[in-house]
């Protein structure tokens, strides 16, 4: 009795499972991805028409909250009927959720352009801004070279010319900050001209009983250190080939080994803050602002905050090359904003993007440590912001702005993060580390 009961129950459960799975396998509509409604191309009757109703735009972003707040305030002052609601996310959260966010029904109207946007644009989830480009005349306000980064290699259905999937509001670059007071204490009299000279300065800081270099390697901070050194050792063209996935490119080169070995060596010599691997990038910045280290590796997005806290006591220089005559090379990208195809207010979103190209916005961007897309429209910055602007100009002139290495593959950020942590802790051979990166690269680009 008990046994037949159990058997019957099993049969029933089995039948249920089969009944459930059968329609699943039979139905093509259940193939993942097939149900994601791609909104059609929106017709934009008049991109420059100012909407005359109360509108709220939602803006999701990951970089420079202070700058975004200031831009929004200035924009709302000019267009009182359009409100912009900022939604800040930390960088890793933002990138990880980008695809879900932008394909959901509740996608923000405006979103910061990031690595995954290329795929999203190809699938029609990002609004093609080419008609706006013509209507607003952005080619005059923004150097076209900055816009070319944002075309995702597509032609525009609306204009037949090149598509446009974002408008840059500030360009970024990584480099080294230094605490002038502490540097003086350690006998360091100014930015170094070569990597070797920088090493001497780190040694001097160590000798003076200070923490030489602040690194926040818990998240992406370690990757900036490695990339900064890699930029000096590896020919820029080889690096670009690798990041862009050009066939046959490799990161397993003697140059990359040299850069990785430097990261290990500096760790062995105790140049990093002791807890580099346990410190987030924002935390390392806060510690540097308190005077915990002489140098700090970070990007210009931290400049606004550091200038506010440290005033004239902070300076900046791009990582120097192996020889003083080497070109200035640094990782950087533009902080740009894209518009969702799902937005109900494409005109208002276009208006906001156009505002980003104005001299007023350029000034706000510059005040927050970013390079305004059009440097001629802003007045000369001061202090650490001037150091950054000067470094960026040099890098641009040397054609030395390279993107970040995690652009090479979607999973590269995770490999880089854990790999550099191991380098810092001297737990991996540089060759093995590079091998793990190349494996990931090949897996992605084989598809």
């Amino acid at each position: 009795m008990e046994r037949t009961h159990r058997v019957r129950r099993r049969v029933a459960a089995g039948a249920c499972a089969v009944a459930l799975v059968l329609p699943l396998t039979a139905c093509d509509a259940l193939t993942p991805g097939s149900a994601a409604a791609v909104p059609g191309q929106r017709s934009v009757p008049s991109p420059t028409a100012v909407p005359d109703e109360d509108i709220t735009l939602r803006l999701q972003f990951a970089d420079a909250p202070l700058m975004v707040d200031a831009l929004i305030a200035a924009f709302e002052k000019e267009h009182p009927r359009i409100g912009v609601e900022p939604q800040y996310k930390t960088f890793s959260d933002y990138v990880q959720n980008l695809k879900l966010t932008m394909t959901s029904d509740t996608a923000p109207d405006i979103a910061q352009y990031a690595v995954g946007m290329t795929d999203l644009a190809a699938d029609g989830h990002i609004l093609d801004l080419a008609p706006y480009r013509e209507a607003y005349g952005w080619d005059e306000a923004i150097p076209p070279v900055s816009l070319d980064q944002l075309t995702a290699g597509q032609t525009s259905k609306a204009t037949g010319g090149r598509a446009l999937f974002g408008v840059p509001a500030g360009l970024s670059m990584t480099g080294i900050y230094y605490n002038k007071e502490l540097a003086e204490k350690a006998g360091i009299d100014g930015p170094p001209n070569t990597v070797a000279e920088f090493e001497e300065q780190l040694a001097a800081a160590k000798k003076a009983g200070l923490t030489p270099l602040g690194v926040g390697a818990l998240d992406s901070g370690g990757l900036h250190l490695w990339a900064a050194l890699l930029n000096q050792t590896m020919p820029t063209d080889d690096y670009w080939d690798w990041v862009n996935g050009t066939e046959g490119a490799t990161i397993e080169t003697p140059a990359a080994v040299t850069a990785s070995e430097l990261v290990v060596e500096w760790g062995r010599k105790g140049y990093y803050n002791e807890s580099a691997n346990g410190t987030a990038q924002v935390d390392s910045t806060a510690q540097f602002a308190k005077g915990d280290s002489v140098f700090l590796i970070n990007g210009n997005w931290a400049a606004g905050q550091l200038a506010t806290v440290m005033g004239d006591n902070v300076g900046f220089f791009p990582m120097p090359g192996e020889r003083a005559s080497d070109p200035t090379v640094a990782s950087g990208f533009s902080v740009s904003y894209a518009v969702s195809s799902r937005t109900e207010h494409p005109e208002a979103a276009g208006l906001f993007l156009d505002f980003l190209t104005s001299p007023e916005a350029g000034q706000i961007i510059s005040d927050n440590g970013f390079m305004a897309p059009n440097p001629e429209a802003v007045k000369k910055p001061e202090g650490v912001l001037a150091d950054i602007a000067e470094g960026h100009l040099r890098a641009v002139a040397d054609d030395g702005i390279t993107t970040f290495p995690d652009f090479a593959a979607p999973a590269m950020l995770d490999r880089l993060r854990s790999g550099v942590q191991k380098l810092i802790a001297d737990r991996v051979e540089p060759a093995d580390y590079l091998d793990s990166l190349q494996d990931e690269w090949e897996e992605h680009h084989a598809e």
Partner: protein, 315 residues
């Protein structure tokens, strides 16, 4: 899980007086036995829609190579094959098993110890103790993680405490240290789950017939003997529940790890839950993530089954 036996008992209780009165035909008996299922139906419907269906959907997704946006490709069991060959995955399963020690074993021992100390004697402020030990349970795990990240930090309370007692050499960035990170994360789990175990055991003790303790004392049993001979045997059911809940928490851990270390340094604290999240959201390998989730789910089910089996056969 306990719903079915209870329901059967309830129906039996209602049927039995009639049994005594007259011989019942098998048909009526079966009908009333099935009536029990009607009561379970609403709960089952909810459970089916929000647990079973998504689980089946996940299993279905695991058969595709899908980036989360564009149309997926059918790859059959290919994702499972890939998972079994991945060294990072094997490492993450090992980490999860280490976490079982800190999330399950240690909290249960601590919970038992606290129960032994708090259960049998009325002392002033008992409510406050219970509240304090239970507190970690009501705080969201993300908040717990953020708080402990501060505590473990360079100038955090943990290092300050070590410095205060002259152990300067011991201090380090706990979450960034290759040797200490996993243990540090595990201890956060210990902190969270000990209180839960204690509450479970305390409530179990309250069911024990006081005369048993009286008898034990008359026989000359001290507090330890009393705990071992009377309290512990009565807590078998609670022990099984505590083991199940805490082991699942360890194997399925995600939030604490994500917030404190994000799997680092290196792969020292990478757990399968974190990999599922990464694969699905940052690496665009939704099918692979689903396959890993299915494997993890099966592993957890197997272990929970084992725990239940063991605890039942002992009793």
């Amino acid at each position: 899980m306990p719903s079915r036996p209870q329901v059967q008992q309830a129906t039996k209780a209602r049927v039995e007086p009639q049994d005594a009165a007259r011989v019942q035909s098998p048909g009526t008996r079966r009908r009333s036995a099935y009536r029990g299922y009607v009561y379970v139906l609403p709960a089952f419907a909810v459970y089916f829609c929000f647990a079973v269906l998504p689980a089946l959907h996940t299993a279905y997704l695991s058969l595709f190579e899908w980036d989360g946006v564009t149309l997926g490709d059918w790859v059959g069991l290919g994702n499972y094959q890939e998972i079994l060959q991945d060294p990072i995955l094997r490492r993450s399963v090992f980490n999860a098993l280490v976490l079982v020690v800190f999330f399950s074993f240690v909290p249960i021992v601590l919970g038992l110890a606290m129960t032994g100390l708090l259960a049998r004697y009325r002392r002033p402020g008992m409510g406050a103790y219970r509240f304090l030990f239970m507190l970690p349970q009501v705080v969201p795990l993300v908040a717990v993680g953020v708080t402990w990240r501060w505590l473990y930090g360079d100038d955090g309370l943990v290092n300050q405490a070590f410095r205060a007692v002259g152990l300067d050499g011991v201090t380090r960035a706990w979450l960034g240290d290759f040797g200490a990170a996993l243990i540090a994360v595990g201890l956060v789990g210990t902190w969270v789950l000990s209180g839960l175990c204690m509450m479970l055991f305390l409530s179990g003790v309250q069911k024990v017939d006081p005369s048993l303790y009286e008898a034990a004392r008359l026989d000359g049993a001290g507090p330890v003997r009393e705990f071992v001979s009377v309290t512990l045997p009565h807590l078998r059911g609670e022990l099984a529940v505590a083991m199940t809940v805490t082991t699942v928490a360890a194997l399925a851990s995600f939030d604490i790890v994500y917030v404190t270390t994000n799997g680092g340094p290196g792969e020292q604290t990478t757990v399968p839950g974190l990999l599922v999240y990464r694969l699905a959201f940052s690496e665009g390998k939704v099918g692979l993530a689903a396959a890993l989730a299915v494997v993890l789910g099966c592993l957890i089910l197997a272990i929970v089954y084992l725990i239940n089996r063991l605890s039942r056969s002992e009793s």
